[in-house]
Symmetry: C2
Subunit: 696 residues, 2 copies
Amino acid sequence: MSQTVDRSAKTSATTPATTENPVVDVAALGEQLMGRWAAERRTSRLLAATPDMQRIPDQTMAEHRERVLGQLKILVDTKAVHKAFPPSVGGLNDAGGNIAQFEELLLADPSLQIKSGVQWGLFGAAVMHLGTAEHHEKWLPGIMSLEIPGAFAMTETGHGSDVSAVGTTATYDETTQEFVIDTPFRAAWKDYLGNAALHGEAAVVFAQLITKGVNHGVHAFYVPIRDKEKNFLPGVGGEDDGVKGGLNGIDNGRLHFTGVRIPRTNLLNRYGDVAEDGTYSSPIASPGRRFFTMLGTLVQGRVSLDGASTVASKLAMTIAITYGSQRRQFTAASETDEEVILDYQRHQRRLLPRLATTYAMSFAHEVFLEKFHGVFSGETDTETERQDLETLAAALKPLSTWHALDILQEAREACGGNGFLFENRLVGLRADMDIYATFEGDNNVLLQLVAKRLLTDYSKKFAGADAGALAQYVASQVGEATVNRTGLRKLAQTLVDFGSTARSVGYVRDTDSQRQLLTDRVQSMVAEIAGRLRDANKLPKMEAAQLFNSNQNALIEAARAHGELLQWEAFTDAVEKIEDPGTKTVLTWLRDLFGLGLIEKHAAWYLIHGRISAQRAQAITSYIDDRLLPRLREHALPLVAAFELSPELIGAPIALGAEKERQDEARAYYALQRESGTAPIPEKAPEKSPRKVVGK
Amino acid sequence: MSQTVDRSAKTSATTPATTENPVVDVAALGEQLMGRWAAERRTSRLLAATPDMQRIPDQTMAEHRERVLGQLKILVDTKAVHKAFPPSVGGLNDAGGNIAQFEELLLADPSLQIKSGVQWGLFGAAVMHLGTAEHHEKWLPGIMSLEIPGAFAMTETGHGSDVSAVGTTATYDETTQEFVIDTPFRAAWKDYLGNAALHGEAAVVFAQLITKGVNHGVHAFYVPIRDKEKNFLPGVGGEDDGVKGGLNGIDNGRLHFTGVRIPRTNLLNRYGDVAEDGTYSSPIASPGRRFFTMLGTLVQGRVSLDGASTVASKLAMTIAITYGSQRRQFTAASETDEEVILDYQRHQRRLLPRLATTYAMSFAHEVFLEKFHGVFSGETDTETERQDLETLAAALKPLSTWHALDILQEAREACGGNGFLFENRLVGLRADMDIYATFEGDNNVLLQLVAKRLLTDYSKKFAGADAGALAQYVASQVGEATVNRTGLRKLAQTLVDFGSTARSVGYVRDTDSQRQLLTDRVQSMVAEIAGRLRDANKLPKMEAAQLFNSNQNALIEAARAHGELLQWEAFTDAVEKIEDPGTKTVLTWLRDLFGLGLIEKHAAWYLIHGRISAQRAQAITSYIDDRLLPRLREHALPLVAAFELSPELIGAPIALGAEKERQDEARAYYALQRESGTAPIPEKAPEKSPRKVVGK
């Protein structure tokens, strides 16, 4: 990072902050990126920076699992765990601070982040949110202290995305006042569960609650699975999931149950209960809404994956941009000096838009975390806020987990062979985070959930409306961009577009225009699909399903567009909060790179729908290549310096001076040769003659 | 694969082969895919199917390295190695057959493929192609028998892409008639070399040849590095590269040399020699052309990576499409039956275009391998063929290595949590193949090489030409598509486009139109860039470099478009060779999915340049979603069955019946419940009332 500091220092030393050559206030920007829970993040980073918490390369799966279990005990000792839990059991009830600190643990080892998430974020949170006071007193202290390592037994081999259809049953036996847990076939085995292969002594098992011959849907049950010697209890069995693509510090495994009896009171009964006589009761009448309410209490997993993806992207960008600013290859512009690779346009195209995306992810995550904290601290716990939170989670988690994989991969390739060495961090993080696209909700399934909500909002407004009503609705949704969202305006815009390139890009560069174009796309995509689905409810189930399926891809793309808009809005709001003029200028360029990058990526849609002209589409690309990339390249190092990653957290030798040292040594060697005149003379290329003796 | 066979069998049983419901002749298609070296591929696959050759999960790096070394000895015993080498040393001089067999070894373990490539394809091939008879007799037998494990010491820590600038020197000492090898600074250390960390006893070292004070450029030298006890020889030292993101069965490492003396005759002197008195001579006068001729002899590495990427993609598609045809989730169209996930449009969008790409890669690779064999067997060894071969290598290797990573990743995600289990192959292959995008030439650097050649061809034709000449040139390049490549035609086409959607897609569906659109794009991109670079040669070096750099991204995109066109042409030629009508129909759909998929992906370019109308662009997407995907989904299993991967080669339990068995068992369980009337009754959702007691 020394180089980073040099660069930013150098910049500020040599140039006054004007909009011509602005300077980034790295400290202030860093503080803004840290956000509301800066203190918790910094504390957690200090812990992650200690060798005991970090990954050791080339450990076997068994060694890695033991090490991570030990690291969880360290977390207990530091009382980090207590933040999450209610005061009744000595907790601090600090939902946001808790997630913030656990996200940062990814910097030490993603296995540590995820195993903690299993024990406290899933197993513990299920007891906390789905159980009641008695359960809290009885089990939370042991869960917090790791005295009771536990598994979150929801997913089954046969059901991951559609968990309402799990095959495991919990049948109430009035005679003994017990629930009997069964996994009646192989596909009903609980699977991929952290803590299930080795360490878990209990599990929160999700099963179909059956009493008096009625299935009341999926409920959560507290089920002991192993004794203190880690032997399975009667009726319980399981398997080890074995080696995975990553996260091998976690003992994922399978569990199956055969007539396992638990007391009636082990039903986590906050949202549904069974009386001694077998009568079922629930505060939520609709079985569907009841189940989704239960699931909603477990949204924090998606919050922390979104945050962890952001943290990983910051690390990847820090490594690749530092290396790209020191690595040299090919002498293009000089006889003697090789180019720094970040000075190549292609390298800028590969890294700088991803740096912009990383900033968008970071600011969007802060909004997400605030909303989560509001709901779970009770500060703003309303039905609307909970629904917004779930939609936000379903929209942001897919985008950020996919972005992290893309950013880690491009960073790896941008560091060449060095990027493939485990010591430089990128390959290990990518392997571990691969599954982030799947767990806590498959990315495609989550986006379809978002799309359905967009569609519901839309159809609630009006069914079978005509184009005019539709346009009005769209306009009403656009908010600030309402101006100019009429068909007329579109025509006018199209005319404008036949003006000069300069004028057309000038228009798009402006914040409101970016907002309008991005918002308009989401609304229009939803409106288009809604139109095609208008008659679905009149069709028989199968035909309706076929009609919906024939629009599934478009639906998911609309949801993605919605998520991109949310990220852009968060980025824009953050930029508006910046006071330092230099920082504001640079961050506005970075936001423009993100926003115009989205419009460029979706240019075909904008052209097809007459939202931008061919000239403007070309102008956007030229503006990115000729203006934004060269400008931002000058600020790339300060922009990663603002991520405030210490050398201990970065770890990668190529980003900690090793490359710079090698380059300096080589350049000094050749410089000395030139000065002393000891450099061998290059062989002259002769004019003609295919075969001749050269020299002497 | 049983399911695959069922499906294809079922299809052929129930339906006669007409263009309405065509049937794929799996056996014939499989034979065509196997290509000219089918026998070598099948022999190699039989070997790869044996447990001794396959990867064991969770081995430490040390264990994995030892295992792979042992597997190389097995290859020696099977005489597989001999194909590559000249008859003078007992070889068969079968260049194509040799590469074909080694590509297939990836199915066992990519570390095995790459370590073999290091020993025989790089180290051995360098001695063979850059050395002369004396060298062959002296060293090739030991290299073939693995008596001399060796490293290919070209890349240095400081120079990977620009190998002409390596820092290692070989200075001729007339007094002792020896070359003195030195790595004068850390960046000059040889790095990432397979066999360097542990097993290598010799290395072909690429160094600047200096004699009589003149540097004649990079040449290859045979340098012993370790004794039989694996101790470094005097002056030689090194380091282990340690754990990598994958390929940990290979002992990559670094080598450094300090005043290491080797006999004059250890210079591999086919393209340049030094006489006893230190006089340098070469059959190739130009130092630049000389070096590129040497590099050209080593093109086989790129050929085999292109082929290995194709093999990996075939395996990934076999696994994901088999699983997607058996896995069920969500009851959309029925009360009782869950949907097979490949019946979801999104899932088809994720997998079927990648299946089409896999076919394109396979057919393009066969063309590539034929050209390689022609040149290296001497059958068609002309200057033009060699240049074509190098351009083909530089264009196809980047596309196929990137495609393999994309295909493996999408297949992994499409298999959900199952895809993340090591036993299901996808994660391990992806981790190993990550670096295929970098070694044997960084993908971006290779594409820039292609772009420069496209630009050279273009500028050779005419400098400073006017639009008319340009249009003519473009037309002349388009070949069959020459018709309609005038501005007038473009206008006419645009008019046509305002016709109905059906008509507009009808036009693009046709083979010649796809060829025209894809060819036109490459030519026009090159022409555009050439126009912008026209004055570069009049500028000072630095400004010229800046002008070139400001077009670098566009150049690389043009090269990618060229590579995509080559793949499309190979696919189209292969389809034209098919005689069975059913197979031809289905493969034409698959080719259309590939071709129209490219046009859809680059729709913004086609719209901006007025090549297609908005209606046509939309029609292409509708045609893919509503026609091609549903049609091809019916043939997905026969299309992967044609890859002829045996259960032993597939390995992944989820593609070998495990998922089908689980699904059948679960469905039987629920069917029985329904029949016997023992199924619990689902809780009824009451009309209204927010909170009430349900049941009883």
